[in-house]
Amino acid sequence: MAVFPSKEWFEEVREVYNSDRSLHSGGGGACDTTAGFSIGDRRYRIEFAGLECAEVRESNDAELAETDFIIEMPIESWKAMVRDVQENGKASSSQTLNSLDLGLEDGIAHSPVDDQYKQDLFYRYNQNFQDFFNASSRVETTLE
């Protein structure tokens, strides 16, 4: 059983996401971006290329500074989101990435170089990221 957050967990989600196109919902086609996830003291870097998630790896602040945008939340918020996906098969409306972003004045996504064009990629590719996390419903998960 994969532990969230961990490289293994993200790798399993990536495999599920890439192996089943039915998980890619309407409006979630080609996507080319790199993003960072800041989860407590852990950092992960994810890369989407075309129709697939090309890579997810454990990372660090210096590397995340090179990404288009970073999604940052307290670890409890990440866990609540993952738990919600596990329980409902996909994020319920209050736990989607977009809803979580809107719930905070400064949002959960920001460009490390404060470039709105890059931050807007979070909005442009929102469905891919949501589909990715929704795919985690098929990964047996233990929360750390």
């Binding site: 309407g26 129709l51 977009n98 470039d115 442009r124 469905q127």
Partner: protein
């Protein structure tokens, strides 16, 4: 009458057309994303003229046909007038991220709503229906004015028109699908939104449409996840937001290109932004604006009904604040951020006052 050669019924085979060609031997190869427009920028086919004298509709790179008639009065024939560095990419992205308002929205999740909430949603749908007409009509006019040599930028606009058609229909569908209907038109199309169509220059149009107008609407669409009353509405707004973010990206990247290519036009661009900013705050261009009837509808939806109007209004203020912040950062990204530091723009003051 046509410039095409008249061929008698009986004639000798003339294959001289085989000797007239553009650069030969092109071998574009598909990459990981298929064979994209970026992949076919090979040899001279990728050469973009700074100024285009192509008035005959000749595909870029094709051999010239000297007797061809002039078919287009292409007023946009200078690269900096319309170009952006990622045009090929935005076009492919738009093609590959299309969705269907008929089948990708979970319409079955619509449920009867209290009258005030249904009326507020239908009012908003009527408004979006109106403004999406403008957002489709205006780029469409500029497509025909642009030389075919800049086909990549034209194609992005062509797909934008498709996107806007889908937005028009999805809001219309929502208004007609849950016991309500369309409401009184907002009049936005005869106000600032309609005035986008009066732009004399492509960049003037793009600044008004892509950066000011669609930037403000992007924030609104994203907020749809908060004020949508069911999964169908939330999905509708979320998918529209993705399209809108692409349109905004066109505006930001074009302005960035123009700022670098023709810095002498900076004052002119700042004038367009001056004009747009007055409307961004208070005009009917902005459905969350202080004077817009739609902002009342939004407050009803955000609160969950008339009885929670005040609560909804508080959330609306957060939306307005976010609109302002994102707008400023987009203009900065496009290369015109100094206006927020030198006192020219009223937005920083209004942003501070909205805290």
């Amino acid at each position: 009458m046509s410039e095409a050669v008249e061929i008698p019924e009986e004639h000798d085979l003339d294959t001289s057309w085989m000797e007239n060609m553009g650069e030969w031997g092109a071998n574009a190869r598909p990459g990981k994303r298929g064979l994209t427009l970026a992949d076919i920028q090979v040899g001279s086919y990728g050469d973009l003229p700074e100024v285009s004298d192509n008035m005959t509709g000749r595909p870029r790179g094709a051999a010239v046909r000297p007797e061809a008639y002039r078919v287009g009065a292409y007023s946009v024939h200078t690269l900096s007038e319309i170009w952006l560095d990622n045009a090929e990419y935005l076009y492919e992205e738009a093609l590959q991220r299309q969705w269907s308002s008929a089948t990708d929205i979970p319409w079955h999740t619509l449920e009867p709503l209290p009258d005030d909430v249904e009326e507020a949603e239908c009012f908003l749908c009527t408004f979006f229906n109106e403004v999406e007409f403008v957002a489709g009509d205006v780029p469409a006019r500029w497509i025909a004015k642009t030389t075919p040599d800049y086909l990549e930028a034209r194609n992005v606009l062509v797909v934008q028109v498709m996107d806007e058609a889908r937005h028009m229909d999805v809001f219309r569908k929502r208004a007609l699908a849950n016991g309500g209907g369309l409401m009184r038109m907002s009049g936005a199309t005869s106000g600032f939104v309609g005035s986008i169509d009066l732009a004399r220059d492509f960049t003037e149009m793009s600044t008004r449409l892509h950066i000011s107008g669609e930037g403000a609407v992007l924030t609104m669409f994203r907020m749809g996840e908060l004020f949508g009353q069911n999964e169908a509405e939330k999905t509708m707004y979320r998918l529209c937001a993705q399209d809108e973010a692409r349109h905004v990206a066109f505006g930001v990247m074009h302005l960035r290109f123009l700022a670098a290519a023709e810095p002498e036009r900076g004052e002119e661009i700042n004038c367009y932004l001056d004009e747009a900013e007055g409307q961004l705050i208070s005009g009917q261009q902005n459905p969350a604006g202080a004077l817009a009837e739609t902002s009342e509808a939004l407050a009803v939806l955000l609160g969950g009904g008339m009885q929670h109007y005040d609560e909804g209004h508080k959330k609306l203020l957060v939306i307005r604040r976010r609109q302002l912040k994102e707008y400023m950062k987009r203009v900065m990204s496009a290369g015109f951020g100094e206006r927020f530091e030198n006192g020219r723009s009223p937005i920083p003051e209004r942003y501070a006052a909205s805290a």
